[in-house]
Symmetry: C2
Amino acid sequence: MRTEISPVEVEQRVEHFKEAVRRAGVKLTHQRLEIFREVAGSVDHPSADSLFEALKTRLPMLSLDTVYRTLWLLHDLGLVSTLGPRRESVRFDANPLPHHHYICVRCGLARDFESSELNMLHIPALVSDFGSIDATHVEVHGVCKRCLAEPEAETKTRH
Amino acid sequence: MRTEISPVEVEQRVEHFKEAVRRAGVKLTHQRLEIFREVAGSVDHPSADSLFEALKTRLPMLSLDTVYRTLWLLHDLGLVSTLGPRRESVRFDANPLPHHHYICVRCGLARDFESSELNMLHIPALVSDFGSIDATHVEVHGVCKRCLAEPEAETKTRH
DNA sequence: CTGACTGCAAACCCTTTGCAGACCG
DNA sequence: CGGTCTGCAAAGGGTTTGCAGTCAG
């Protein structure tokens, strides 16, 4: 339920990031460092654009596409994840019953599953500090069978 | 864990749709009917475009923007929901600890919360039929305090 | 020094919108 | 018939990419 991240913790994460960068053999640029510091210090799951805006003062020469490239790099390094299934297009759900989702992180496949047990989760009371609670569901992420079978499956490079 | 929807059930949903359309006082066009039939009969949470492709044979004159308009209409009627936070931009998450999300369905605000109890959910065994299970988290949807406070909050019209 | 990285601008999607004609009620 | 709805085409907004100059290692 934290609403901010302590500077100390941000710097710990930054160290972890530096190590990961070194291990991956990619360059540690000023931009990458500051962009990482910014995501790591934010608690609101920012978009590329809002990070860009926040960084403008510190890095006046920064360009938005560098923010994108860096975020996907961080993603490939396993340092950040994305919110929601994907980045592609909106997807629609016409299932009127309470249900949960299985999402393939590789191809975006989505499937429903039911579980009366999961329909009655106990949500921490503090969550209602954020606002009303209208619906709750479980999201399971994995790699679907089809993607697991694909030979070039491990090619994590994109962008 | 169903992998398809029976024609009978689709038609039941179609009836429900017709009623909702009548109640809302909007017109029941051929396109709307077929588009609804298509989402209601699909289990893979299609995008507007894949619905469009699937409908092309039945409705050669259909245009993609009608699919979009209809889907958002269905959304406003409460007949379909969307997968994931929203449609705008990708959002990034740099929280390395296991955590869960609170999402405001109105403005997209996202916040983390922790719960050791929710970190150990029991996922139905059948889910692994879909593929590997790499991560599991709970998503709570609601309306955040700020949005609740806004006067023009009930204006559901968009698009 | 040299290849990886950045900034810029243009290209790319996916999605929305303005408008004139079509059709439901 | 009238107003809503559709199809078309063009605009919009977020994201990606090609290129030449720049900088980390």
